[in-house]
């Protein structure tokens, strides 16, 4: 039996990604939102639910003001860092399923060039309270330093190597070169990765994602409406969010090599009623190379500890068995909080992936990761008319 669609992504929008931009984060959110709404064939006033993403996300009221929405029925936030976007799809579907809304907008946009660096931003967030009180004064400032001990322990316990981390960076970079809207435009080899400077051991510069400006947005609609809308529908078959043990400090996590995604993934796969072999394309949150390896394990593509070997030999490349981050990811396209991953999965399943299109892709997944280990996953499939 074909699994029931829980909801559909009916509109996607992205701005050009850049650095050192003068455009405000609100303008980016509005630009990306207008693109997504037009893509869905809707008017901005048709939006009746809004779930803004990210610390710099404008409140829903800004969209009411700028779009002239007369009857916004629902607004919410999903403060899970890079997992917020995928988690927001779940929240949107809950609101649609409850009959509260018809079309939920999930906007994101940021101008980090004009704002504070990541090491400053996170310590303004309540989710990081314990880290800010007890670890920040010691020098645990930025995500690279907070996440590195997870990777180091994984390497010590399982023999994961820096060259295996490089495999992720190299595969994703090759995809960015196929994408006209990617910030990174030069090829990368394993040797380039190994020669890049150490940031927070074991993370080298090329293990770390970009800081970038721009916006991305999606529209989620009820699946029975999606069939009649402008864009080819992409259905959400399975979705879940998961919160790790000790969500507020990695230091105390019983197993610091296991993320919240490990709790969410089995739920999403069961909901979608598909197996891992059915996944044609994966867009996996890649704030750091190792986080991709860990998520592959936590989703069950391989056993815990085997992720390093799993990514070898180009498995994540376009012509490998699990094409991953076909847009270039946070590592080489742009850091748009993983909203760019959602947009890319929808493009792939519409068969609008351009030079990076995975041939005949019908089923794929997107993950989010953020705030010290929160996770979310959506399994999507090419819909039908």
């Amino acid at each position: 039996m074909k699994p029931r669609a829980l909801g559909s992504i009916t509109g996607i929008g992205e701005t050009t990604y850049t650095r050192a931009s003068d455009i405000s984060s609100l303008e980016y959110q509005l630009q990306a939102s207008l693109s997504a709404i037009a893509d869905a064939g809707l008017s901005p006033r048709d939006i009746d639910g809004i779930i803004p993403i990210g610390l710099t996300g404008a409140p829903a009221e800004e969209f009411v003001t700028n779009f002239g929405i007369e009857d916004l029925r629902y607004s919410a936030v999903t403060p899970m860092g890079g997992a917020s976007g995928v988690a927001a799809i779940q929240t949107a579907m809950a609101a649609i399923g409850a009959g509260i809304c018809k079309h939920v907008l999930i906007p994101s946009g940021r101008n980090v060039s004009r704002g504070a660096s990541a090491g400053v931003r996170i310590h303004q967030m309540p989710q990081f309270h314990y880290v800010t009180e007890y670890e920040y004064p010691l020098g645990a400032i930025a995500p690279a330093q907070l996440y590195a001990p997870m990777a180091r322990r994984h390497m010590e316990l399982y023999g994961t190597t820096s060259r295996q981390l490089a495999e992720v960076a190299v595969a994703v970079r090759a995809h960015a070169l196929l994408n006209d809207n990617a910030l990174m435009t030069q090829p990368m080899t394993i040797a380039d990765h190994q020669a890049s400077r150490m940031i927070s051991d074991p993370f080298r510069l090329f293990d770390c994602s970009l800081e970038s400006d721009g916006g991305a947005a999606v529209v989620v609609s009820a699946s029975d409406r999606a069939k009649d809308m402008r864009a080819y529908p992409v259905d959400v078959l399975g979705i879940a969010e998961g919160h790790p043990d000790s969500p507020s400090a990695i230091t105390h996590r019983p197993d610091m090599t296991r993320l919240g995604l490990a709790k969410a993934a089995p739920i999403a796969f069961e909901m979608a009623d598909i197996s891992h072999a059915d996944i044609d394309v994966a867009e996996i949150y890649d704030c750091f190379t190792w986080v991709v390896i860990c998520q592959l394990e936590d989703m069950g593509f391989c056993a815990k500890g085997e992720g390093g070997a799993f990514v070898e030999n180009g498995r994540l490349s376009l012509h490998g068995s699990l094409p991953t981050n076909t847009h270039g990811g946070l590592l080489s396209q742009a850091h748009m909080l993983g909203m760019n991953h959602i947009v890319e999965l929808v493009r792939q399943l519409r068969h609008e992936g351009g030079k990076a299109q995975v041939k005949d892709a019908t089923t794929g997944l997107v993950t989010g990761y953020g705030d010290l280990g929160d996770g979310a996953i959506a399994i999507m499939a090419r819909g039908s008319r």
Partner: protein
Amino acid sequence: MTSERKPTPHGDRYATIYWDATSRGELHIQHCSKCDQLRHYPSALCPHCHSFEHDWIVASGRGKLHSWTVCHHAFHPGFKNALPYTLVTVDLVEGVRTLGLLEEGTAHELTIGMPLQASFKKREDGFGDLVFQISGV
């Protein structure tokens, strides 16, 4: 220049108690007065019995290495002159884990599970940095 100083603790109710103890060279761990369990970092409720009642113990500073990172990039100007420095995650013998710094110059010797002993190093702001050194077995 104040911007060149390391960030100082903000000090909510529990953090103030914790950091004040570091200035006396003591590692305070929160203890549930009702069910006798330790918890770290300090929090409002005991996650085991949900009691607000608590007191504090002074930990030994002995523990074993759980993980680490050697920091080569300063994400805050206050750490520019401290590079490289090593953050260590340590399983304390009392049964809770904590983050600390590693004594300079010993990062190349680290392996998971190795015994460590903490002491406090006076900070510019008067509080103490929890600094571990590799100890004999």
